[in-house]
Symmetry: C2
DNA sequence: TTGTTTATTATGTCTATACATTATCCAATC
DNA sequence: GATTGGATAATGTATAGACATAATAAACAA
């Protein structure tokens, strides 16, 4: 029913051209949310390509969240209700380098102790778990860029007991030594307290952006970390949504 | 060379089983970053499936960022250097409902004016652009959950001039009326100033989480908005990375 | 009208095959 | 030894066809 013939731009692979053409129809509001796009068969015939090629194009749009498909009924333009953007959290070093800043890592303290009965450790790792606790600071151009407080589960990563973390940051070390199956991020704002304010060299009570990250392998928590940034250092997250699709359109500053 | 025979779990489509099996090898550190995984041909032979099926599985891992492919050389386990998590920003109403809270929207002010020479508007929309400026508040369970300040480009969305935004929030309205091709998010922490503190009913100087979002359609900026949350309201971003893959593992609280 | 069965049909998966594209390797040459 | 150039091989794209699956719609029965 819907006009299944549209303009392919001749740029790149066929399935990409088709994907972009459909995305254009949607972002151009020609096909609005809820609209049934042409059946695969129709596009196949109209464009003179194979069904698999059309299928691949539409599937890409499905994983982009632009299209929902229903067997027998057809494929429909999704209702947009959220704005979805990949939040890429680089290691501090990568982040500094991306901005062209000089980077320095600074270990503030390191200690080994079992998780005791407090919300910070026992609840997350289980009481009695052996932990390395690390406080460290990451400097960009000589200025504190981020202060971290981290606990590493020695039951899961015993090798961390033999690492002093004086020259390599625990985040970078873990990425090299441990895989993870799940991660959770919690973002919040808080007023810097005494310790944190001193580490970041900002006024006590100054606003501060915190990213808490908990990482699992299977059921076991590998590490829990607080990354604290001065409030005015902005985290940028960007995305070109439907026209280019796929991954890897992140920007940062 | 590498052992191309691995366990399929028999659950779901073949390409999914293969994808999961490869992901398991990677998260289990059997295949470490830089390792060359078996060639498509090898897996095809070892598993007794078609090459297209293997190809589809590996391509999914590529868009998950777990695998990088090089023609002629092979497919390799990617170096993990970032933690990637989809940040889904719901409309305020959806967010409140997700938490089971009662939701109320409150318009604080609305005005129409051209963009003047300041950083907030002219730099983003171009000098002289006609804008609607809206201040509003979103309440959850009677408590201020978020305060927004928004500018909408009337050149791009003329219909916004006829909408008073007294009952419908501009974010929800725009999602219904305008497509977008690109969005950019900037997250920062700041101390609530007088106006903002009053709107959120928090102490002046209290920390506050701000998400700035700028949305484009083609080259034109549709809207720019500041979403301000009380600092202690945490934004949750979660993701099960490699084993489940694809989209839609977001959690929130 | 209501409920059940059946046929239809669009998507979902999978295969076998073909050719294009290019890094890589290796051998021949300068 | 360094450069060049071609053979090789692995991925990239595209095709046609097949069957599975499931939801809709139509036909039928209670």
């Amino acid at each position: 029913m819907a006009d299944a013939s549209f303009e392919l731009d001749g740029q790149g692979p066929l399935y990409e051209q088709i994907r972009k053409a459909i995305a254009r129809k949607i972002t151009g509001r020609e096909w609005r949310p809820g609209h049934r796009i042409p059946f695969e068969n129709e596009m196949t015939a109209a464009l003179g390509v194979s069904r698999m090629t059309v299928n691949r194009a539409i599937n890409a749009l499905v994983s982009d969240g632009l299209i929902v498909r229903r067997r027998k009924a057809g494929s429909f333009v999704a209702e947009q209700s959220t704005l979805d953007a990949p939040l890429t959290i680089l290691t501090a070093e990568a982040e500094a380098c991306a901005n062209g800043a000089t980077y320095r890592y600074e270990l503030l303290s390191r200690s080994v102790s079992p998780a005791i009965r407090d919300a910070m450790t026992a609840d997350r790792f289980g009481p009695g778990t052996s932990l390395v606790c690390i406080e460290a600071r990451h400097m960009a151009n000589g200025q504190p860029m981020m202060a971290e407080r981290r606990w590493i589960n020695l039951d899961v990563v015993p090798a961390a007991a033999n690492e002093d973390f004086k020259t390599i940051a625990p985040g970078a070390w873990l990425l090299k030594h441990m895989p993870w199956s799940e991660a959770e991020h919690v973002i919040s704002a808080l007023a810097a307290d005494g310790d944190l304010a001193r580490h970041l060299e900002i006024a006590s009570g100054a606003p501060c952006l915190r990213i808490e990250r908990r990482t699992w392998i299977g059921d076991a928590t590998i590490t829990f970390v607080e990354l604290n940034y001065p409030g005015d250092s902005k985290k940028l997250v960007g995305r070109f949504q439907p026209l280019t699709g796929g991954r890897g359109n992140e920007k940062r500053s």
